[in-house]
Symmetry: C2
Subunit: 555 residues, 2 copies
Amino acid sequence: MSSERLIYLPLGGAGEIGMNAYVYGYGAPGKERLIVVDLGVAFPDMDTTPGVDLILPDISWLKERADRIDGVFVTHAHEDHIGAIAHTYAALKAPIYARAFTANLARRKMADAGHPEDSVQTVSAWPETLKAGPFEVGFVPLSHSIPESAGLVIDTPAGRLVHSGDFKIDPEPVVGEPFDPGLWEAIAKTGVKALICDSTNVFSPHPGRSESELSSEIETLIAAQPGMVVATTFASNVARLKTLAEAGQRAGRSVVLFGRAMRRMVEAAVETGVLTDFPRVISPEEAQDLPRQSLMLLATGSQGERRAASAQLARGKYRGMTMAEGDLFLFSSKTIPGNERGVIRIMNQFSEMGVDVVDDSSGRYHVSGHANRPDLERMHDLVNPQMVIPMHGEHRHLREHAKLAKERGRQGIVAVNGMMLDLSGEAPVVSEYVDTGRTYLDGSVQIGALDGVVRDRIRLALNGHVTVTVILDEEDEPLGEPWCDTKGLPEAGSSKADLVEICEADLHQFLMRADAKTLRNDDKLEEALRRIVRQTALSEIGRKPEVTVVISRLR
Amino acid sequence: MSSERLIYLPLGGAGEIGMNAYVYGYGAPGKERLIVVDLGVAFPDMDTTPGVDLILPDISWLKERADRIDGVFVTHAHEDHIGAIAHTYAALKAPIYARAFTANLARRKMADAGHPEDSVQTVSAWPETLKAGPFEVGFVPLSHSIPESAGLVIDTPAGRLVHSGDFKIDPEPVVGEPFDPGLWEAIAKTGVKALICDSTNVFSPHPGRSESELSSEIETLIAAQPGMVVATTFASNVARLKTLAEAGQRAGRSVVLFGRAMRRMVEAAVETGVLTDFPRVISPEEAQDLPRQSLMLLATGSQGERRAASAQLARGKYRGMTMAEGDLFLFSSKTIPGNERGVIRIMNQFSEMGVDVVDDSSGRYHVSGHANRPDLERMHDLVNPQMVIPMHGEHRHLREHAKLAKERGRQGIVAVNGMMLDLSGEAPVVSEYVDTGRTYLDGSVQIGALDGVVRDRIRLALNGHVTVTVILDEEDEPLGEPWCDTKGLPEAGSSKADLVEICEADLHQFLMRADAKTLRNDDKLEEALRRIVRQTALSEIGRKPEVTVVISRLR
């Protein structure tokens, strides 16, 4: 009997789509050597995280065990897998391993943050492997919507694990290696203990479609256009960029890349040899001299991001280019839930210009990068693991994926963020619950999600704000009258009188009648003044604002 | 030649989905008698309208012409068509006309707001008509996702208009009259000048499906359930409630209505004779005594609204009921764009409880209430108008709908909110642009969308807030040190020191060195103090907060 154990601990991504961060450990309990797979971010929204710049997984647990980390393995370069590496590097100080394209982008991130470039090491694909403490890790090419996505084969003293990363089954992915079932059968041959598997598309009932199926549809669409064509997709979807650019080229159009992220991705793909025959690209300046029917622009901003090239074109102009009646704008992308409003805004702005907008609703101009339900079944069968541990999904995805595994005769377990599984035995066992959560990058500061900072901002947005200033003299008597300042509140309410004046009058009345005990006690006085403002505002304008009370004592 | 003219003026709904408000006028230019069709609301969101309660159309134009309004005609009782009637009644004072079910709900709204109940008059369906100034108006039954939706036939001295309201073509709508093509042919016989037509589903390429198609699928689903079944849909979709309740009843379950809006809708439908054979409903209290497999709950909150019954069940409990492993939750509804996050939150909460969630993604448990593209074509052909004027849609819907009309040989024109069309001649002519916009119901106050109140709230949410207090003595010299208070900001930043203390120190330094001229001038001083706080915050925490400066002078 071994006293050592194999553990799995998701710190992000298991219970949400985004912010992936998974830990594997092997060793004596509490002394396991650790590796981390992916360190991603999630994106803020106005509803729950106004003003926040990025959402990072809370890695306190890892930080306290930094000396036991033998490496961070990044499966691919999507922000929800790679986005946190630079923000967490100082705390973890572990070497980062990735395939060439991913490593190229990782190094740019590290350099931007002032970290050493050699913190990132490029790894060759399977069958090469890498020793990291008790683990031996191989990067197995798997197609996804970004070049060089990899599933990891993680060999441990307790058996072989397969961590799928994000993947789809694509026999013809346009860029990168086709799906190779034989390779997976070979990997499975020695027996696989657990498949830790992407769950994003478990609710999609039909087999996934190949990236290559799009080219003829896109070509037909673009060939028929009389004006300029602008297409957007995720900047990192290099295969799609290639399909779009080639369709433009075949229609006799010159290709322009609009938006920094897009140029950076193509650059990284060319530098690393991932992309070898991309059509020649001209600059936005050169484009201005060409007739619009000779142009094919590829633009960032498929999710309606306000500062991206697409949104700027929709508002009027980007790098000297404007869209006009008869032009086409193609969303070769899907809208991620939550981004609908921004995307719809752009569609309507283009509509006002007379630009025709085509999106993915027909199914002809976009395919997903994730394995659908039948593809997941196929992957289960190929890898043939003892147990399936769904990851990368909201709770409903994980649950459905575990159900799917069980219906088909395998063990399946839902392990959400913070749930540590002991995988040493025949069945997974929950061995511990670890505190996890989210950290916000807020301006230049990292704050905890529960610090109250963002909660206060939401309250300010919902309720508005009143500042109350009171000065008391040496005898604790009010000096002059109280002042109010409002922000985000209507000037006048039901009585048509000025809200500030009514609040000041009510506060003044109170102060004139207040007893010495109240006037002497900061806390009591503050509470009383706050209550008066909230009550007065409620009766005047129907809402209770946030209140800051400043009591100044001349002593 | 007549010196009178026929005008059409959308004030809401033409350029957005929601907030419908359309004006028709006939008479000498500038002296037209007016009727209003629908007075609806739109709903706020955190991104653009935090803290706002309701969005109403700006009716300033109508207000100034209130003496010329001969009536408000409400096509149906959805909030985006009826929601503003009580909020605008005091300004317009025009009689409100609607069919019985709509009038019943309208009267409740008016009574809640303290308006006379006789402000709302019940109108019988076509062929009965009603004189309103130079107009003769008939309510023609058309099926939609609420009982007694009506298209309006508006006869004017310049010809017949058809205003479709929201509609679908449903030969078997479960509740209410089936679509009657013969009726529309008869209406078209005398010639129709313009069809003003719902555009919501113009991008849906397939013919719409009948409400009646759902019953067998829903029945099959519910019959197979071992636990409790909870279904949600729009409270006003009385036909769907009936389908769901009957499926529950056939499966031997007792039906419970969860949520005030749902009970009110069923009540109104029964009171007005729209609903005659709804299964017997038991109270939530009675339900608690029954085994869970004998229950079928119908709950409000299909859009994930936090306070509705569904969200409360997802968080734990509603009226003593909790959901459990093996129960089913059915979204017999679609998620309106923008509401995805709330709906997904509920799905995951149920998933955590072990509740199976089924939504509309299979197409089996929901059908739309709007006419799809082929249905719009059919309506165009039946009504056979001289011109099609698309309404109720974002710009992209209106534009596509006008294109559709033109492709099929009719005149089509995009008229957005504020664009007045003269319909007197053979072709529509844009005769005027009227200032329109949105009014916010904010607490108990109506404010303009451009008043800056909401903009300030958004800034508070994105940037946080600092209050700065400075006291100056009789000689304009600082008395004591300046004070700072923060809200919605991290406590400490890059230097690890307290943000408030650093700001106060920087302000103090400035005040010590400031010249008399600056100290004497409130505006200058305020601006200087604000700039210091913003700069200090930027270097400490990487963001520039909103700042309120309070300068108190002891004079």
